[in-house]
């Protein structure tokens, strides 16, 4: 399976990556190579192998429902580019 230039551009857009037009063929080739590798794995008989969601064969640990965090807004907002009235400010979002 090989990716087209348009598909590469769409993936880049979804990931919000700015890529140079001249690099598109290179990415297409590279990503296509990875897909081929996956296709090769598809050839293995996995009929009796249950799908795996995580490489570690462990259970999720659960925490008790307790409030353990204090308000540290001052510290967090000290590193934010712009804040006002306790809010983080970001470029206008238009729906």
């Amino acid at each position: 399976m090989s990716l087209t230039a348009d598909e590469v551009k769409k993936i880049a857009h979804l990931a919000r990556l700015g890529i140079d037009e001249q690099d598109v063929p290179h990415y297409a080739e590279d990503l296509s190579g990875m897909l081929e590798l996956m296709a090769a794995m598809g050839a293995v008989d996995s009929e009796n192998v249950p799908p795996m969601a995580h490489p570690l064969d462990l259970h999720q640990r659960l925490r008790n429902d307790r409030v353990t965090e204090r308000n540290e807004r001052e510290k967090f907002q000290a590193i934010a580019p712009q804040v006002e009235a306790g809010l983080y400010l970001v470029p206008k979002v238009i729906e």
């Binding site: 979804l14 999720q60 659960l62 008790n64 409030v67 400010l89």
Partner: protein, 477 residues
């Protein structure tokens, strides 16, 4: 052409945990902006999510209540999209292996019971809030809500009218509140609804193209938004157009829906299992433990009220409409020792009306169940009539006095002294010879006039049955 409406609902319920689904920050509503948003909620580098046990308990509880399959093994996935109130650039949700699958809820519309399938319910984190008021051309972000646990409940496209959709939504709202897993506060966004709506020619098997109506936050608006959307789609198709798959926003002020954005591209969420979280295993023992914490559910309670107390459908519907109402009724019944019918009438009648008028919930009723019990006892033992009782109830609503004090103070005791009643009856008969003549010549209606006169003279304090009996004797004699 005759059209059929097809509706499926996605309902987001905020789970009533104290802390967030993946962090130890508080979930309390209404805090100062960003004071309940910790490093995990902000998506700072290097943090790891740890799952809240109580969120899992609540999801399982819900699953058991809708007779669903509880997944022995479920997986969290990342749903990738960019929006400033989602700091990580992805929402932790569940995709292929949700915690709850394949349940159902029975609704009743116009006396007909219908089963609505619930495809799945999955755990996920809520996003923050964007404030679009003008901050010098910028948008303000409050991340207090980010990471609040949500259970997204997805129905099958089984509903065929806005009315059915509202009935389903109400039933679900009642259920999550009974279970104590969600406070159901729609104004605060604890219970939010998206509706997938499409139309198709009646008899056609395939579904039409659907539009998704977003965030319609009241029962009334759900009905209106769906009705508007159905009409829009039918008009569009009949005019030769086609419905496009898109997200639409309901504008309550103008009562219409409008296109938000085309879903085609936005929908590419590229889900994949979240490597930060291990799969969740739910054992039979765990389910059994959750089962021991299950309260009696609304349908079972309603049936029991009918069987045990011989109450009708109408009053049992009101009495079981919330757990608090049902609890109040049962406490009243126990405390008063009165007949269930009398207790039910007061809870669904006088008390409900007063609460509605004051805009109060039954849990905060100014007249508690034990005070009301004190009043009902006096009706049952004939100390006061039902009519006087309403007067006493009003006084109880305004003060903290017990029924007995009010009855005593205002001299409202029913007059049982037959001599006193007799004297008044004799006087009224003597004063109204014309009416007596009419009655005796067969005009039964005049009887009401005499009852009215006697009750008036006795300021409503006579036992009406006693008055009726004595009046009849006198008039016939």
């Amino acid at each position: 052409m005759e059209w059929e409406t097809v509706i499926g609902l996605e309902i987001h319920t905020q789970l009533a945990t104290k802390s967030k689904i993946f962090s130890g920050a508080a979930t309390a509503y209404g805090a100062e902006p960003n004071t309940q948003a910790c490093a995990v909620d902000l998506g700072l580098p290097g943090v790891l999510p740890v799952l809240n046990q109580e969120a899992v308990n609540m999801a399982v509880k819900f699953g058991l209540a809708i007779e669903a399959e509880i997944a022995p093994y479920s997986v969290f996935a990342r749903k990738n999209y960019f929006y400033p109130d989602l700091p990580k650039g992805y929402q932790i949700s569940q995709f292929e292996l949700p915690i709850v699958g394949n349940g159902h809820l029975d609704i009743e519309v116009d006396g007909v019971t219908k089963r609505i399938g619930i495809t799945r319910a999955h755990l996920e984190e809520d996003a923050g809030k964007s404030l679009h008021e003008d901050f010098h051309g910028l948008t303000g972000i409050d991340l207090n809500r980010a990471g609040t646990p949500l259970l997204e409940i997805v129905s099958e496209p089984d509903m065929r009218s806005a009315k059915e959709a509202v009935a389903y939504m109400r039933k679900l709202h009642e259920l999550v509140r009974y279970l104590g897993i969600c406070d159901g506060n729609m104004q605060e966004g604890s219970f939010r609804c998206d509706a997938n709506v499409s139309v198709r020619p009646k008899g056609q098997k395939e579904f039409g193209t659907r539009a998704e109506l977003k965030n319609i936050n009241s029962f009334k608006f759900v009905e209106k938004a769906i009705n508007y959307e159905v009409e829009r789609q039918i008009d569009l198709i009949e005019a030769g157009g086609t419905v496009v798959q898109e997200t639409r926003l309901y504008d309550a002020a103008k009562d219409l829906t409008r296109s938000m954005r085309s879903k085609e591209e936005a929908n590419d969420y590229r889900y994949f299992p979240d490597p930060d979280l291990l799969p969740v295993y739910i054992s039979e023992a765990f389910k059994a433990e959750v089962l021991t914490t299950m309260p009696e559910l609304p349908d079972a309670k309603k049936q029991r009220f009918k069987d045990q107390f011989g109450l009708d459908d109408e009053s049992t519907t009101i009495l079981t409409s919330s757990r608090e109402t049902a609890d109040y009724f049962e406490a009243l019944l126990a405390a008063s020792g009165c007949e269930a019918r009398l207790c039910a009438n007061w809870v669904t009648g006088e008390l409900s009306a007063a609460l509605n008028k004051a805009g109060q919930e039954i849990a905060d009723s100014p007249v508690s169940y034990d005070r009301l019990a004190g009043l009902l006892k006096r009706i049952a033992d004939n100390t006061i009539s039902g009519k006087i009782a309403k007067q006493v109830f009003e006084a109880m609503w305004q003060s903290e006095a017990e029924a007995d004090e009010i009855i005593e103070k205002q001299g409202l005791k029913q007059i049982t002294d037959t001599g006193a009643i007799e004297a008044i009856i004799d006087k009224i008969i003597a004063d109204n010879p014309g009416q007596v003549e009419q009655y005796r010549s067969g005009k039964d209606k005049v009887f009401g006039f005499f009852v009215g006169q006697v009750m008036k003279a006795m300021q409503g304090k006579a036992n009406p049955e006693e008055v009726n009996r004595m009046l009849k004797d006198k008039l016939h004699g």
